[in-house]
Symmetry: C2
Subunit: 378 residues, 2 copies
């Protein structure tokens, strides 16, 4: 029967990371628990929602953890409730002892709290990803790539494959990451420092968003492993499993146009604020669009809502080249595209009012391109 | 037709204060608008939900406001939408001009936004409180009194009078403030520096909570005026009207006991954390209570939930006097009572397991007393 003592702050930190995979309203009730595995080496906390699983390991070697294991074992405890109780304890040290009938006694200072647990065998066997030949990625780079693309994935289940982000490694070093919801697309390419086995997977964008929250910036690199329908991101303490989406991702390369007729360079922040103003009124129009007019080197934005009012605004530009153009689109797509760009200037290139336009950072050698589809307004 | 220019930050600040009285889902649609009254002296913004009304005045004399009135008038604009539009404008200066058909053109930088407004005459006549013979109160003192009492008012409409806070001025200087929801009570007495006419009113606790948000700490004093069924709090820029509750407030003086048998002095923070732990488990019990045991000078807290587990905790005390006692109560009431106290120590005094107990700051001359009713558990 379990018995250990541990630093409350370290334990709570690990519990809170594990909890990111736990939903209190899971259809499988046992998945609302956290699994606590105590061995001579340390404690493994496990949480899962069936799609994502997180394991957090606290080693007896870790000095900050002050972990002292007196007796090993495993148990399940209701996650949210257990975390609330632990965080409420008065002392910095916490003693955990299992007693009869799967009960756990937490002692801290003068406080003694007894909680009812469950048999660890009730927990489902979750994932098996063999950990040989890892691909090693810089956490920061991976998170940046996710932030640049995952927002463009679909949130609708009508085409499940589009709710994922397409990650493809070719030539052992060339990583391409793409997401699209069929109205807009975001693609980042980069070359890895360290080579790895080629792969071609579609990762749920929701899992990637959790990944960016779980792997904080102090974790320098992350090992990546693949199995048939799962993948594993692993750091020293954390193993983050996610299922992969099944099916073939659409060919997005053929969508990217090259035959541009008009190009404009904008200050990214200025353009974003202008689009946010436009959106306030476009939300009250029938098709929710803003109209961009490029005439004789001047660019202006227009929204007309018969109910609420209208916006007319001349946009600041740094450069305008090519033909005049009038094009309408959903300003939210442009706002989100601009949020994903870290460069101060962006270049937007158009072909015609009915063809997607592209947005790229106005810096050299950045392999980051976004596509937005216009809306036909008449 | 209205025409003025103004500093955006000052205008937005005033709009946001006015908006605190405006509900976007009011049963009277015109109350979702903000009324803008422009005169030669300045601009008055008015918002109301029928219970509370807030007027904010910006003077042409106010240098920070940079207000330049070219033409006077009045108009109504959809409050939330108008505020979002103003806050999105690019420049620090904003020009407002009324054009035909109750439309308003906002110009700022290169942005020009036209909004549809409504006829000012549609706005209801709200309140009339004659502003003679004010009672002058320190804002800080009034806000403290509200924070000490208003939380104890009822949130249920079954006895409407208990949703208010009872303010009584006697002897022109003695202010008594009481709130109770019949399970607990909080009463603060104080002596005013400046005398005023005696009054006896019941103010909705919700209005008082808005008051504390609207009157920031930089406003030193507030003028208070009463009419039949309304009252007005007024500062240099802000007039805050609230309706009063009708009916007679129950006599609470007779509830306050004096014949105590047991007294304990606690560190307020320690006791609060212990009660927060107890509450985690008491929430999962049938009657939601914690049991306090006082035996031979030792005080302990106990919760037993057959479903979730139990808490047993010895409480730190600074002094225990009188008889042994076992008493059960809802820990939330004690937690909220402790939050309302600013002193580091509190004195809790008991008569019996079935009589309300009192909580006072453990400092001399503080006329602040709270009452909590125990729960009979068998």
């Amino acid at each position: 029967m379990i018995q250990f003592s541990i630093n409350k702050t370290v334990f709570l930190h690990a519990l809170n990371i594990t909890k990111r995979a736990i939903s209190s309203k899971n259809a499988i009730p046992v998945l609302s628990t956290v699994k606590i595995d105590v061995t001579g080496e340390g404690i493994t906390l496990t949480g899962s929602n069936g799609q994502i699983s997180i394991e957090h390991f606290i080693s007896v070697q870790d000095e900050n953890a002050g972990l002292l294991v007196s007796s090993t074992g495993a148990i399940l405890l209701e996650a949210t409730f257990f975390i609330n109780v632990v965080s409420s304890l008065p002392d910095i040290i916490l003693d955990v002892q299992e007693i009869e009938q799967k009960q756990v006694v937490l002692t801290s200072g003068k406080s003694e709290i007894t909680l009812k647990g469950k048999e660890a065998d009730l927990y489902p066997r979750l994932q098996e990803v063999s950990t040989v030949k890892p691909l090693i990625l810089e956490t920061k780079l991976l998170k940046q790539t996710i932030n640049e693309t995952a927002f463009a994935a679909s949130t609708q289940e009508s085409r499940p494959i589009l709710t994922g982000v397409h990650f493809v490694l070719t030539d052992n070093k060339k990583l391409k990451t793409v997401a699209t919801d069929s109205h807009r697309m975001s693609q980042r390419k980069l070359t890895l420092d360290k080579a790895g086995d080629n792969f071609n997977v579609v990762i749920p964008s929701r899992s990637l968003r959790e990944f960016t929250a779980v792997f904080t910036d102090d974790i320098e690199t992350v090992e990546v492993y693949f199995s048939n329908n799962q993948m594993l991101f692993r750091s020293e303490h954390i193993s983050f499993y996610t299922r992969l989406l099944e099916g073939t991702y659409p060919d997005t390369d053929r969508l990217i146009p090259t035959d541009f007729k008009t190009s404009v360079i904008f200050d990214a922040a200025n353009l974003r604020y202008a689009m946010e103003r436009a959106r306030l009124l476009s939300n009250a129009t029938q098709n929710g669009t803003v109209k961009l007019e490029i005439t004789n080197g001047l660019v202006s934005a227009h929204v007309h809502s018969p109910e609420v009012g209208k916006v007319n605004e001349e946009l600041d530009t740094l450069d305008v080249t090519g033909q005049d153009l009038v094009i309408s689109f959903n300003p939210t797509y442009l706002i989100e595209a601009l949020k994903a760009v870290s460069s101060e200037q962006v270049k937007i290139s158009f072909i015609s009012p009915v063809r997607p336009f592209t947005l790229v950072p106005n810096t050299e050698n950045e392999e980051f391109i976004q596509l937005i589809t216009p809306v036909r307004t008449n």
